[in-house]
Amino acid sequence: MARDMARDMAPDVTTANSARAPLSRFLRWDVLVGVLLVLVFAGGAAGSPEFANAGNLSFALGDLGEIALIALAMTLLVVAAEVDLSVASVLGLSSALVGHLWDAGWAIETIIPLVVVVGAACGLVNGLLVTRLGLPSLAVTIGTLALYRGLAQVVLGDRAIAEFPQSYVNLTVNDVPGTPIPYPVALFAVLAVITAVALHATGFGRALFAIGAQVEAAHFAGIRVKRIKLVLFVISGLVAAFAGVVYTLRYGSARADNGSGLELAVIAAVLLGGVDFDGGKGTLGGVIAGVLLIGLLRNLLMLNDVSTEIQSVVTGLLLVISVITPRLVAVARQRRRVPSPVMPTPPTT
């Protein structure tokens, strides 16, 4: 189902290249990632019996849950040419709060909404610093990355809290009956559909792409740039905090260092999915394919006893290859047709 989703949710974005031959539509970066995903899945299913069974798939998908959730919000931000590096720290802070409050005897029904609100507040701080002061989000969220992680340590210190209510733990680890899909992943699927529609088919999505591609033009077109960015940061914080709740319950362990370093995994997935870090380009389908590709490939390598170091190399090569292949193909095709380098398009970040 994951593959279908990825395909269905990749509506075309009009890129500058669409004037070229129609074939190049299929050589887009995000489509390439989708194809790789299918290949990995098929190869895995054929090659190792441990891979394509319900138990393993359920686990592998569940293990991606938090990254996938956060990647949704991150995609929106990156399309609008912003980034939130503090997500993993918000996740940690949320985890620490869940642990602390639970330890203090609060009811989990109170804790969860409260923590999500705190996450939204963290996002609000990011958003205000970016929109009110006009600071680059990379700088702001590197700062809050340290700040929120630090607050998590302040809240929980060296304690590790466990023994959360089983019914809630079950919600985060059990599968939807009859499928190998854990509940958080099912929730993710629903949210992904909503996000995809919002991004690719609504005025809000159009506004995001315009903001990301040319913020001044968007402002002149009456788009409330600052407000929209603020909302995006709040969403990002909120989702990260919710992911923190899922994380805590899924592992049954609240620690201040939960999820540290997760931001790079999210960014890697978003980049692999073909979203342009300069903003204004990308598809949600690509991102979903990217998340699944990284996750399933790692799972497959692990099952085949490929060492961590090689896994790391493979992830890195995947990133490089997925960006460079469409370019190489385009260049090769151009060379064949006419010997004309277009305007010297310089490299971008």
């Binding site: 686990f59 999820g259 692990m302 099952l303 961590t308």
Partner: protein, 336 residues
């Protein structure tokens, strides 16, 4: 109704029942062709690498195959995916040095429900979700002896500090508790623990923390670093600074790392057990479990190859032995 902490304990899952029901047969031979896997906190941790290698060699002795797999970062979550993989691969036993005692619990119990034996070593998992814990030394011994060792070197007088690993490290935190308890005894009334600092088992961070400690507490007399990374970093900073000879550094370290500092006089004594023995013992314990020689109940005995006989203690704990103290006279006799 509200799901508060009180209601939770009543809902806590019972540990899988079938393992407890089995009875031990101390005379059963160790099965051949066992497949066991070591899952360290983090691959590339030199200390755990030594341990796991010894365990893998031990497996060859009893004609089993062992391997080491693990994450490159010491986070709880990354270990969990490896447990899943090992379940899928239907290993006979998983040996784990847990990053987070609780986070690995669910998957470990899943493994046990599929008949896989779980042995924790070096750093324990929650006792509900493993069959045995191979402890390097009794935690109480480690904590108290560290304090004694330092006290002897500073004449039971002055300010001291602890340089630990991460704030969440289970074993370090247990030791530190015992250290604090030991310090309440009357003979230590002139010693004061002024700070517990965390070097996160990161060489550079530990180095910088040591610097900070010495500046912040000019009257500091000694540092206990109950972690191999921390003690090496602390010793290195002290040996290259004006504090050399004025500050006593001790703790847990490996002879290879510490040799230089013992020789140049920065460090007089430090302690550790033989990590190779620990790996060896863990490997044999796992094999004994799988072969049905023991079940993990208190009082059971088993032989661990060349190391001889061990007894399962309370809560399924097996203790390697008291820590060994290294000093200038013996540090050259070891190579690890």
């Amino acid at each position: 109704g509200g799901t508060t902490k009180e209601s939770a304990s009543s809902q806590a899952p019972a540990a899988p029942a079938q393992t407890a029901a089995a009875t031990a047969n101390p005379n059963a031979p160790i099965k051949e062709g066992l497949q066991i896997a070591f899952l360290p906190k983090q691959i590339n941790n030199p200390y755990l690498t030594i341990l796991d290698k010894a365990g893998i060699d031990a497996a060859a002795e009893y004609k089993g195959t062992a391997k080491e797999v693990g994450p490159s970062d010491a986070s709880a979550s990354s270990q969990v995916s490896y447990i899943n993989t090992l379940i899928q691969q239907q290993q006979d036993a998983i040996l784990i040095s847990a990053n987070d005692a609780n986070a690995v619990c669910g998957p470990l119990n899943q493994a046990r429900s599929k008949g896989i034996k779980v042995v924790s070593y070096d750093s324990d998992a929650s006792k509900d979700c493993r069959d045995l814990f191979i402890n390097q030394a009794s935690s109480e011994d480690v904590g108290r002896s560290e304090v004694k060792m330092l006290a002897d070197m500073i004449d039971h007088k002055g300010e001291i500090a602890v340089l630990s690993a991460t704030a969440n490290a289970t074993n370090q935190n247990t030791w530190i508790e015992f250290m604090k308890d030991e310090l309440t005894k009357p003979e230590y009334k002139d010693m004061k623990l002024v700070k517990v600092a965390y070097g996160d088992d990161d060489d550079q961070k530990s180095f910088q923390e040591t610097q900070g400690l010495l500046q912040a507490y000019p009257n500091l007399k000694g540092i206990i670093a109950p972690t191999t990374v921390g003690i090496a970093a602390a010793a290195r900073y002290v040996s290259g600074s004006k504090y050399k000879g004025k500050i006593v550094v001790t703790g847990l370290g490996t002879p290879n790392q510490m040799r230089e500092f013992v020789k140049n006089g920065t460090v007089e004594k430090f302690a550790l057990w033989n990590p190779k023995d620990l790996g060896y013992l863990a490997s044999y314990a796992a094999a004994s479990l799988v072969s049905g020689r023991i079940t993990g109940a208190e009082g059971e005995k088993f032989t661990a190859g060349k190391l001889g006989e061990f007894t399962v203690g309370k809560d399924g704990e097996v203790i390697l032995g008291p820590p060994f103290t290294f000093d200038a006279s013996n540090v050259d006799d070891f190579d690890f």
